[in-house]
């Protein structure tokens, strides 16, 4: 499987995004994905990133990035301002994931969310065998210095989307270099979901009149 800036999730998201769309990348790091999307898909992109050194690199790269906390930053954009709002490998680090997802679907037509799957068999085995918090390739941190504050699986995410009445438009699962189609909750290392508010527009999402 192809990588973009050494990341599979970037390659997958890069494929998902339609050309010439408006994109907001939350937790955009050094703006690699935004720069790639601008170059290859001619998107009109914006980013949000907390860490100053990364913001500087992103702006130096030509990306329009705002230095701030993504959880509050998402509140400031107008309704349905973007075609896609991307949250890559960051959902598990946010304090209030549901609030973030709601915000994403308010400011964007679609949310694209990539996260490491805590249900992967390596994680389950590590916990089972060691009896401690898992340390794997996917979750390489000790429990006390991990940026991850929520641990979710493919099943957990699907259940939340269903409960909110939202719609999963696309789901892509990856392990190593391969795409996973069989038992993703056990086999996928990374899950990428494209979600829309769907037909059942949730009352918690306000949408501007056309």
């Amino acid at each position: 499987m192809r990588k973009v800036y050494g990341r599979r999730d970037f390659a997958i998201i890069g494929e998902l995004i339609e050309p010439r769309t408006r994109v907001l990348d939350l937790g955009c790091g050094e703006g690699e994905l935004l720069a790639w999307l601008k170059e290859n898909k001619q998107v009109d992109g914006r980013g949000v990133e907390m860490e100053g050194a990364r913001v500087q690199k992103a702006i130096a790269r030509g990306a329009s990035v705002y230095q701030g906390d993504l959880e509050s930053a998402v509140e400031d954009y107008p309704d349905q301002a973007f075609d896609y709002v991307i949250l890559s490998q960051t959902l598990q680090e946010t304090r209030y994931p549901l609030r973030v997802l709601r915000g994403m679907l308010r400011v964007g037509k679609r949310a694209v969310v990539a996260f490491p799957n805590f249900g992967h068999y390596s994680v389950r085995l590590a916990t089972l065998l060691s009896g401690g918090a898992p340390r794997t390739d996917l979750f390489p941190y000790d429990w006390y210095d991990s940026p991850n504050i929520h641990f979710l699986t493919v099943l957990d995410f699907e259940a939340l989307i269903l409960k909110q009445g939202w719609k999963v438009e696309r789901r892509i699962f990856v392990a190593g270099e391969r795409q996973v189609t069989w038992m993703p909750n056990l086999m996928a290392e990374i899950a990428v979901f494209q979600v829309s508010a769907g037909a059942a527009l949730n009352h918690s999402i306000t949408v501007a009149a056309p």
């Binding site: 009109d44 500087q56 702006i59 130096a60 329009s64 400031d76 301002a81």
Partner: protein
């Protein structure tokens, strides 16, 4: 670096106050060369005590403007003019009133940031430049950059307001008022009529000393001076401030100090509407920069503008750079600033070329 020192004269300038100033002289300098498409022009707008001499030997922003620098004069054509109300070649209170043959002094009409920008726009028209690649400056320069973007959005591809605000706070007005009062309390000020006589140097020097304190940070002052002594009965910091204060008298007009600080204090974009509405469908790109240790123009003032821009989904980049030198950081701690400005300009230039 191809450099040109020039001035030009305009028949008249309508001011916000309703007064017409005629004629008006503008002193400006340019660096680098305008390309055939006239698409590489950058207007640099100076801060309160700056002038048209932005780059080259002794230029106030020579750290940022020049060959290979953030505003790369090998690629871009950089223009900087002295502001209206100034004392470095552009018409101001020290200029001769053609009706009386004497300096205007305090009979000079009150000028605003918008007036300064209107005059700059006349200069840009005069130079035959349709659309600026960017307009950039720090502090009062940032106010002018914002004014440009709000008043002439179709004339700028981008704006880079640095360490600035959409309106002065009570604290900022207060420091300016201390400066003005120091000048007015000097008997040599003589209600502004000192031209040809003794200058109100003591008052102007005190005003500048206060200004310098506000441009630094507690940390940078501790680092630079600490409690070091210059002489047995004088601290290093006292000596430094006095030196800077009296040096200022040689190059700055006390009445310009009064007029320009008033222009800064009365600048308030929000008087024209809520900030987000001012940026409605603004197609320019924006880069705002603030500094962590800047307590005179604190980051929250930049954030207020950035929030308004994001609220209208304008194309805006923002970073709060880690720096120790307080408000002066945009002049002296330019490494990170160079990195972001260079990249932002390059991408803006590419996009403008692709869109043209």
């Amino acid at each position: 670096m191809v450099t040109e020192v020039a001035s030009c004269s305009f028949d008249r300038l309508e001011l916000d106050s309703g007064v017409t100033l005629a004629p008006v002289e503008v002193a400006y300098e340019t660096y680098g060369e305008l390309n055939a498409a006239r698409s590489n022009a950058i207007l640099i707008v100076h801060a309160f005590s700056g002038d048209a001499h932005a780059a080259g030997e002794g230029g106030w922003w020579s750290s940022m403007i020049g060959p290979g620098k953030a505003f790369d004069t090998d690629q871009y054509f950089v223009i900087c003019s002295n502001v209206l109300g100034g004392c470095r070649g552009t018409t101001g209170p020290g200029s001769i009133n053609p009706e009386t043959g004497c300096p205007w002094a305090m009979s000079f009409p009150q000028v605003s940031i918008a007036d300064m920008v209107r005059l700059q726009k006349m200069l840009i028209d005069h130079l035959g430049i349709g659309r600026l690649l960017t307009v950039s400056g720090g502090s009062m320069g940032g106010m002018q950059a914002l004014e440009w973007a709000v008043t002439y959005p179709e004339r700028v591809a981008s704006a880079i307001p640095i360490a600035t605000t959409a309106r002065h706070s009570a604290q900022q007005i207060a420091f300016n008022e201390v400066g003005r009062q120091a000048i007015m309390a000097d008997p040599d000020w003589n209600n502004g009529n000192y031209y040809g006589g003794r200058l109100p140097g003591r008052g102007l020097a005190v005003a500048r000393m206060v200004g310098h304190i506000t441009y630094m940070s507690d940390e940078s002052m501790r680092e630079k001076f600490g409690r070091k002594l210059r002489t047995p009965d004088q601290f290093e910091v006292e000596s430094y401030l006095k030196y800077r204060g009296y040096k200022f008298v040689d190059r700055f007009d006390a009445n310009s100090y009064i007029y320009i600080t008033r222009a800064m204090d009365t600048f308030d974009l929000t008087q024209r509407g809520a900030l987000p509405t001012l940026f409605e469908s603004n197609e320019a790109r924006f880069l705002l920069i603030s500094y962590t240790s800047d307590w005179l123009y604190p980051p929250y003032q930049s954030l207020e503008i950035v929030k308004a821009l994001r609220g209208r989904n304008c194309d805006v980049a923002y970073c709060n750079l880690d720096a120790r030198y307080g408000h002066d950081s945009f002049l002296v701690e330019v490494e990170q600033q160079t990195e972001v400005v260079r990249g932002f300009l390059a991408s803006t230039f590419r996009e403008a070329a692709a869109g043209a």
